[in-house]
């Protein structure tokens, strides 16, 4: 494609790659490559539905949309609205369960 002619210089990714990947990044890569991350995401989705977290977030979004008007709200607005609330309201037992599973996975992956 001709667009490559107009492309800006490659961004500073090269500089960043000089740094060592953090432990978090290594774990993330291992999870994705083995497919475990997808499984954990599915499990998390299920748990958050079962405990009513999804309904809570839906209700918050609905209330916001009602207040602002359907045509004045974007997806970005909603994400910014519920991200802090959502993170804060994940039940402890769900967090603990996921954490345990990640630990188990890491031990079996023999990092």
């Amino acid at each position: 494609m001709k667009h490559s002619v107009n492309r800006p210089p490659t961004p500073d990714a090269a500089e960043d790659q000089g740094k060592e990947p953090t432990l978090q990044e290594i774990i993330n890569i291992k999870l994705i490559e083995s497919g475990e991350k997808e499984r954990l995401m599915e499990l998390l989705r299920e748990r958050l539905i079962d405990c009513g977290w999804k309904d809570e977030m839906k209700a918050i979004c609905r209330a916001y949309i009602k207040k602002k008007g359907r045509n004045n709200v974007t997806v970005d607005d909603l994400v910014h609205l519920i991200t802090p609330k959502g993170r804060a309201s994940v039940p402890d037992n769900v967090k603990a369960d996921l954490l345990q599973r990640i630990r188990t996975f890491l031990m079996s992956a023999a990092l």
Partner: protein, 558 residues
């Protein structure tokens, strides 16, 4: 007919999406389709390279929402997606990789295109096991292509009903609508009286019998049987709609019913719902004999089925591979479970609430959501998956394929304890609406949600059947399991009446809302408004001027 539900009007594309489509057509969509990966539970993700982790071109990050440009396939995260549009002119539309949704970089918002959704859904259908035969696509399903129109109109038009010629009882409350009359309790028969009151005012049944569709004389001539429940029902209608307001004793009906259901013939308190099912059953049997048809499917033409029969759909999905097997079953009512985990405010007043306990009011929509929610079958209930060829964990989901004219909702208030070997009654209050929209519980809606709420016509949507209902009767139960009492509330011409055996009175709608509902009767909106147009038959009396006002009631010249 009802307008299509406004929940599902397609959103208009933004200017940028429209421009994109004009310039690029379906090229971007089609090449994206090859990059879509479908998970067993139906989610569609954009995954070009199975092993490489997608990273933002600008910050190399892989967290958060990542978008892939439809034109140049460049990946950007949500913080840097705007930079991509700024550096590349015309690259305005991208796709959220995790969710397979269109995103307009300039509007900073999700946008929708039926053509895009079609591409995604086609891939989902192709990749999920079973192909187009399962997963909501009714290729050879019964009833979809040769959809028989239930002739709801023919024979159920009150205007064809014969004129009732009778003397008006001047002492009676003539302002009460037609058909309102008490029923005497013949010995713990409130279960029967309550159901009869509801059936008497179900618009299709009322119109059928008042139009003399079941003529007793002809019936006796044809079948020669002495006992015919339909004739007794016909007699009941005549008595109840005669204008006589003194309580009526349905002794003949009770006797006939005992003949048919000898196992239930006693003076013990029975279950109203059981009685309801048994009456419909008897009507069906009798009419099938007369009509000479033995159709046990949902298209039976007996009056019971024409009024109450609907079609339920059951989807059983294998959790491992996503293969779904679908079955259809006719039903004359829907039995709903109460969510006993919800504690009412009065329950929690004196107790500390545990963190994962829910408080609030149980609602009918909550019960319907429970009914149509995907239920994970326990690991002791593994089913054989045709695709995996072995026993697998499955999930089951019910939905309504076809709604009946009259919707009867039965609230299950009996809890059986296997441990204690006894049953007890659940007295939990249930909040219910007077107007009910059944659209979210239809198979088309449930299927649509399963595929990510795409703009796509999954099933042949019955455009001539209304999903909006109005309540016309409530059967409420009070007391304990063995020794309780049933009453019926009727809604006639927007006034509620309480029918407590022989005693009929006007009540405020607040009383009805506060009652402990056991059976709820809803009718499709058009039929409700038609039935309530004029519930007073014009009666011609040979001796009096029909337009003179009666004592205690002003005449409404319409």
């Amino acid at each position: 007919m009802c307008a299509r539900n406004s929940l599902y009007t397609n959103p208009k594309p933004c200017k940028h999406l429209a421009d994109y489509k004009l310039r690029h057509g379906f090229n971007g969509y089609d090449s994206l389709q090859n990059c879509l990966k479908i998970t067993p539970n139906g989610r569609a993700r954009v995954d070009k390279h199975n092993t490489k982790i997608p990273r933002c071109n600008f910050c190399n990050g892989s967290q958060g929402r990542l978008y892939i440009c439809l034109i140049c396939s460049a990946i950007s995260c949500s913080s840097h997606i705007l930079l991509h549009t700024q550096s590349e002119k015309g690259h305005e539309v991208a796709v959220d990789m995790e969710r397979s949704e269109l995103y307009c970089c300039l509007c900073r918002d999700q946008v929708y295109d039926p053509d895009f959704d079609k591409v995604v859904v086609s891939k989902q259908v192709k990749d999920l096991p079973g192909g187009s035969k399962s997963n909501g696509f009714e290729g050879g399903c019964d009833g979809s292509s040769k959809r028989k129109r239930l002739d709801s109109g023919i024979g159920l038009d009150l205007k064809k009903s014969k004129l009732l010629i009778t003397m008006r009882d001047r002492r009676a409350k003539s302002c009460y609508p037609l058909g309102l009359r008490g029923l005497n309790n013949l010995g713990s028969t409130c279960f029967m009286n309550s159901v009869l009151q509801a059936l008497l005012h179900a618009p299709p049944l009322r119109n059928y019998f008042l139009s003399d569709r079941h003529n007793s004389f002809q019936c006796r001539k044809k079948s020669g049987e002495k006992v015919c429940l339909l004739c007794d029902i016909d007699a009941l209608y005549s008595a109840m709609f005669s204008g006589d307001r003194t309580p009526y004793s349905p002794a003949q009906f009770l006797y006939s019913w005992w003949q048919h259901s000898s196992n239930l013939a006693s003076y013990e308190e029975q279950d109203a719902h059981e009685f309801f099912i048994s009456v419909l059953d008897v009507i069906h049997e009798k009419e099938s004999k007369m009509l000479n048809s033995r159709k046990d499917d949902g298209y039976c033409q007996c009056i019971a089925h024409r009024a109450f029969s609907g079609l339920l759909r059951s989807d059983v999905t294998c959790i491992s591979c996503g293969f779904t097997s679908t079955t259809y079953d006719p039903c004359v009512d829907i039995s709903l479970n109460l969510d006993t985990s919800i504690l009412s405010p009065s329950d929690v007043a004196n107790k500390p609430i545990k963190p994962d306990e829910k408080t609030g009011v149980s609602t009918l929509s909550g019960c319907l959501n429970l009914f149509t929610g995907a239920e994970k079958l326990g690991s002791d209930q593994k089913l054989h998956c045709q695709n995996c060829q072995e026993l697998r964990d499955s999930s089951k989901q019910l939905s309504i394929r076809r709604l009946p004219l009259v919707l009867c909702l039965h609230i299950k208030r009996v809890e059986h304890s296997l441990v204690r070997k006894m049953s007890r009654k659940i007295n939990q209050y249930l909040q219910f609406p007077f107007s009910l929209d059944m659209t979210p519980y239809l198979s088309s809606s449930i299927t649509r949600n399963r595929f990510g709420n795409r703009i796509f016509a999954f099933e042949y949507e019955n455009s001539d059947s209304c999903a909006e209902y109005e309540i016309f009767s409530v059967i409420a139960h009070s007391g304990m399991l063995e020794s309780g009492h049933y009453v019926t509330y009727l809604r006639l011409k927007n006034q509620w009446y309480k029918c407590d055996d022989a005693w009929v009175s006007e009540v405020d709608e607040g009383i009805v809302r506060a009652s402990q509902c056991y059976m709820l009767f809803y009718v499709q909106k058009p039929l409700f408004y038609k039935a309530n147009e004029d519930t007073r038959c014009v009666r011609i009396s040979p001796r009096r001027d029909p337009f003179s006002s009666t004592a205690g009631c002003s005449s409404n010249a319409k």
